[in-house]
């Protein structure tokens, strides 16, 4: 009889938990990542994911020559410094935040419009046998016109 009640209750609790996790991710992106864009106007697009240590995410976007851009990539506190690199269409690395003390933002301008690829990675810090940490990682873009 107890099982009768228990299964639906567990299902609902888990459902609420999963839904809440993604809701929290959106809230994290709004409260923590967007402010990192500073004076740049957020473009309105939403890119956030729950990543586990060691996991990577990729993003493809066209950037235009008339704009100045800032990309902000921020992870929740329980994750270690988020690594990100930017590659051109020929897969050449044109920026890595490892070389900038794991900076959360990168400001750039382009002479001609380009499609770029961003690779974002949550480095592993858990010891063997420990449960790997997971948390929200948010990628936001801000822009402003060149003077």
């Amino acid at each position: 009889m107890r099982l009768k009640v228990l299964f639906p209750v567990i299902a609902l609790l888990l459902a609420a938990g999963v839904t809440d996790m993604y809701g929290q991710c959106k809230s994290f992106a709004k409260k923590v990542c967007i402010p990192e864009l500073g004076v740049y106007v957020h473009d309105g697009n939403y890119h956030a994911a729950v990543l586990v240590e060691g996991e990577e995410a990729e993003l493809y976007k066209t950037f235009y020559s008339d704009m100045k851009y800032r990309v902000a990539i921020v992870g929740e506190e329980n994750l270690s410094n988020i690594e990100f690199k930017v590659l051109d269409a020929s897969r050449n690395v044109i920026y890595s935040n490892k070389d900038a003390n794991y900076a959360k933002t990168w400001d750039f301008e382009l002479q001609s419009s380009q499609q770029l690829k961003l690779v974002v990675k949550v480095p592993e810090k858990s010891k063997s046998g420990e449960t790997p940490a997971s948390g929200c990682v948010s990628i936001m873009f801000g822009f402003k016109l060149k003077n």
Binding site: K4, F7, L59, S112, Q115, L145
Partner: protein
């Protein structure tokens, strides 16, 4: 009886969890391999495509309505109200497809009116966007408080852009969180087409060569495969399948444009804390191909707003 109930409950749990995890993942990005990037700017793109196929979490980012409107304004193009989707059309959209596409369309028009400081139209187009959002069941994305805040700051372009950006993000993320990633993709598609439609209509053919706006239109070739990848993630949905055919038709025209770029040479300038990505671009858009492009965009956009 109890055993049967236990099995049923267990199945319910499993089904529920799979459904939620599936929707949850979609709310973030895709985990499916994406087959094609097809940016014709470099032969090395095959390597890029290989990368996509291996990736776990992939985001396809197309220009937002606000970015599209900003690109148009940056070229010095003039405001033209007749190019916007008439507000009266808002009452005629009844399907999820038409409301989603026109949420994108109206948000782009709203961005356009905001950047050109058309105060009354800003309120009107925000209300039209609100109507579309309500029809899609995302009431919180654009609420009355948003409209009130907009009215209070109607002469402050900076705050207006912030509100437009926020409402667009709320709309997209709420749709995905509600388990409607295909609808969210349609909103993005609607916004992108509206920006491209306005841009192509604003080109003065007497001033074609060296026209800055034409340059920004050519740049959209770089985004069309990203757009197709975004739609492919939701393949199987009849409205999305129809859009894929339409976007492929447009891609066929974009494919007539050769676009070559030299390798990027990054240069970091400490005083501005900015990296300058130096590269040169060459393209060969003729007035004839441009006319075909403008016609195709207008036809497709016409099916969205009718």
């Amino acid at each position: 009886m109890n055993r049967k109930y236990g099995i049923a409950s267990g199945l319910l749990l499993v089904v529920l969890m799979i459904t939620l995890l599936f929707n949850g993942c979609k709310s973030c990005s895709t985990t499916e391999p994406v087959n094609d990037l097809n940016v014709d700017v470099s032969k090395d793109n095959t390597e890029l495509v290989d990368d996509i196929n291996k990736a776990k979490q992939i985001f396809q980012a197309i220009p937002s309505p606000l970015e599209s409107a900003m690109l148009i304004k940056s070229t010095g193009a003039k405001f033209n109200q007749t190019l916007l989707n008439p507000l009266g059309n808002a009452d005629s959209y009844a399907t999820s497809r038409s409301m989603a596409l026109n949420l994108g369309v109206y948000t782009c028009d709203l961005s356009f009116t905001s950047l050109y400081e058309q105060t009354q139209l800003i309120i009107d187009y925000m209300n039209a966007s609100k109507k579309m959002a309500e029809g899609l069941g995302i009431l919180r994305a654009i609420d009355q408080a948003t409209i009130d805040r907009l009215e209070q700051n109607i002469n402050n372009t900076e705050v207006i852009m912030e509100i437009v950006s926020e409402t667009f993000m709320n709309s997209s993320s709420d749709l995905v969180d509600n388990g409607q990633p295909a609808v969210a993709a349609m909103v993005l598609v609607g916004g992108w087409f509206e920006g491209l439609y306005i841009a192509t209509q604003l080109v003065d053919m007497k001033d074609f060569n060296g026209n800055k706006l034409v340059g920004r239109i050519i740049d959209q070739k770089l985004s069309i495969d990203i757009l197709l990848n975004l739609l492919d993630e939701n393949k199987g949905n009849p409205a999305i399948d129809e859009l894929i055919i339409q976007v492929q038709k447009l891609k066929a025209v974009f494919d007539k444009i050769n676009l070559t770029t030299s390798p990027i040479r990054p240069e970091y300038v400490e005083t501005t804390n900015t990296t300058y990505l130096k590269s040169e671009v060459k393209s060969n858009l003729t007035p004839e191909v441009f006319a075909e492009l403008a016609k195709t965009v207008a036809e497709i956009r016409g099916t969205f707003v009718k």
